[in-house]
Each structure stands twice: as C-alpha cells, then as structure tokens.
C-alpha cells in the first residue's frame, strides 16, 4: 500500500495523519472540550439552594449564661446574653462531629456559662462549645441570695402528632455544612449523630408556628441509635410534642418511623 493516505487508516505511532481524519479529529476534540465545559456549566448552575445556615464567625465568640438541660440532648435555656432574649433555647454541640454530653451531664439543671461559636439557620440556633475546660462552666452563685434560682422551663404538652419531614443532625443543618441535609450527606449526618450532635426534625408543616424540633425518645431521653436508618430523607413519624421555652421537643416513637 503505497498510498500515503492509507485510505484513512490511522496508525498511532505514525506522524502522518490522513488528511480527512485530521479534520475529523480536530472537530472531535473541539466538541469534547466544549461539551465538557457546557456540561460543567449546566450541572454547576442548577445545584439546589443550600439555604442560609452558616457558622457565624463574624459575630465572634459568644458567651451565654443560661440553664443547662442535658436530656435528651444538651440545650441551653438563655437567662442572660447580649444577643438572645431570656428564655431562648440554644442547642449545644462540641467541636467537629461531637456532642457535649460528657461536659453537660454533671451540670444538668444548673446555671452555666457557655462560650463558643454560633451556628444559625432561621429560628434554629446552635452553639459550638469551645474545647477545653472553659467552654461550659457552672455560673457563680447569684450575688442576691434571695433571688429564686432559675430552673429548666416546665414542659408544655402540645399533644400527639404525626409529622412528615427529615431527620437531620442539628449541626450540619444549622450551617456547619451547606447543604447539610439530603441523601448525599447521609453518612455525614449519621457520623454527627453517633458523635453526639443533637438530631433535629425538619418538618414540612408547622406545629405551634415552628417547623424545627429537637428529637427525643418516647421517654424524653436520647434516641440516636434508633433513628439512624431513617435519617436524611422524607419520613413520617408520630410522637408527643412539647414546648420547653421557645424550643419544641418531638418525643418520637421510633416504631412509627416510615419512609415515604
């Protein structure tokens, strides 16, 4: 075969490329690069809005005084703070995917001073308690000996409800990750929950004006181990809802969990 074009037959190691093939390959290369860039743009601009949750490093370290409630998951009921009104409930977590159960348990029901960084998403507030001994300490006794020591808010029952929504870890959902929900994020959510981060129920409807609930077991205690198969997707679940301060606690009955 003396034909230099070889009838369009391509030989990789030969630098003589058949003419027609050369043009075709240039076109193929252009289509490949342009196609990839176009696909990147199409997928890139159509991602879900991850919401407005965020770490509020811009506010600096917050020091908040309040009554600590260790069960089902550590929550601080504010008594004194520059930013938050008294009675506001702030969930607590540790650094990374850790809870603060260890540090909170001995201080249950006491007046404490907590400090750390705030995460906020809508009405949901979480304090990432700083590490070390200073993150969570018992407040000094009130100077006025006659003052009634503040206590944990008395729970107000709101009845038994059936809700549709997603079980999230309260920290990622509050803004530690954007997005901090959905199935792609599921393993991370489970890691957070097993690490001790409070689980929250993000409902598709409101009860008493709120769509966020701190999740508890039927007895009001922690329930993490029994919800791990139902995180990060739409589920339906029944349970008692009660108000503690401005926080709604959803005492779910894990047996009624159902994937939609």
């Amino acid at each position: 075969m003396s034909d230099p074009d070889r009838g369009g037959f391509f030989i990789g190691w030969s630098n003589k490329l058949p003419d027609r093939l050369g043009l075709f390959l240039v076109q193929a290369a252009a289509v490949l690069v342009a196609g990839l860039a176009g696909a990147a743009f199409a997928i890139g601009v159509t991602q879900n809005d991850p919401g407005d949750g965020a770490f509020r490093f811009d506010l600096g370290r917050q020091t908040i005084t309040g009554v600590l409630q260790a069960e089902p998951y550590p929550v601080l009921h504010v008594t004194e703070s520059e930013r938050y009104p008294a009675g506001h409930a702030i969930m607590l977590s540790g650094q990374g995917k850790r809870g603060v159960q260890d540090r909170a348990a001995p201080l249950d029901g006491q007046l404490v001073v907590a400090s750390g960084v705030i995460l906020t998403r809508g009405p949901l507030d979480m304090l990432q308690v700083r590490g070390g001994d200073q993150g969570l300490i018992a407040a000094e006794a009130a100077p006025d000996a006659n003052a009634v020591p503040p206590g944990v808010p008395v729970p107000v029952p709101l009845g038994r409800w059936r809700l549709t929504g997603e079980i999230c870890d309260g920290k990622c959902y509050a803004g530690a990750m954007r997005p901090g929900q959905g199935l792609s994020h599921r393993a991370c959510a489970n890691l957070c929950l097993t690490g001790g981060v409070p689980p929250v129920f993000v409902a598709t409807d409101t009860v008493d004006g709120q769509a966020f609930f701190l999740i508890a077991g039927p007895d009001g205690g922690p329930v993490t181990d029994r919800i791990l198969d139902h995180t990060a997707m739409l589920v339906e679940v029944e349970g008692q809802i009660e108000r503690r301060g401005d926080l709604l606690v959803f005492r779910i009955d894990p047996a009624t969990l159902e994937v939609l």
């Binding site: 709101l158 009845g159 038994r160 549709t164 598709t204 409807d205 009860v207 997707m233 739409l234 939609l260």
Partner: protein
Amino acid sequence: MAAGVVTVLQIYGMAGLAVAAVFLAWGIDRVDQNARGAFVFRPLLIPGVALLWPLVLWRWGALERGRDPWAGRYRPPRRLQDWLGIGLAAAIPVILFGALLIRQEGPLERPAELLEPPPAAEGEADR
C-alpha cells in the same frame, strides 16, 4: 468491625509492598526479557504489584515453571465482553429509572396531623 476491615486491608497492602520489592528487584528480570536493563519504568509497577500481588505470585510461578501455553495468549475473552456489554445495557435503564421512581418528590408532604390533643388542663386549644 470496620476497624478490623481497615486493619486487614493494611496488612494486605504491606504484604503487597514486600512482594513488589522482591519482584521488581529480582523476579521481573527472570520472567520478562524486555525488562532486563530497563529500570525507570519499574516504580510505575509498584502500586499494581501491591494491589494484585496474589495474581503476580501466581503468574510468576507459572512463568518460572514454564507453564505458559502460547495458545491462551490469543484467545481474548470476547464472549464474556459481549455478555457484559449486554448486561450493562440492560442494567443501566433499570438502575436509572428505578432511582427516578423512588425519588421523594411530588405530593408526599402531608400536613401535620394532631392525633391526640394535649390534656385540656390549660383549657387552650392548639392550632
């Protein structure tokens, strides 16, 4: 359990590195004449040997014993490839459309339902 799996994988990888050291320093010259005197390409083979070391040992042994029937080298697994191609073509739509079917979208979001009102001590109705 997970920690055990990770440990086993680490041991497998360590053994693979040991096999790679012996094979690339010594064995490869015995079984492949094109490798004799060629050294620059050998580091490229380390990950492969470390990952596939049982297969490497098996082939090494076969070549050392001269058990390498030539005819086998010219029988590519074409029928396997054909079947895998058909299997893939069948599996893709099943996986894709199955996944689209179970997507949680549409009118799944039922309103909150009060199943049992709270004790009426407060005398106040919710909602």
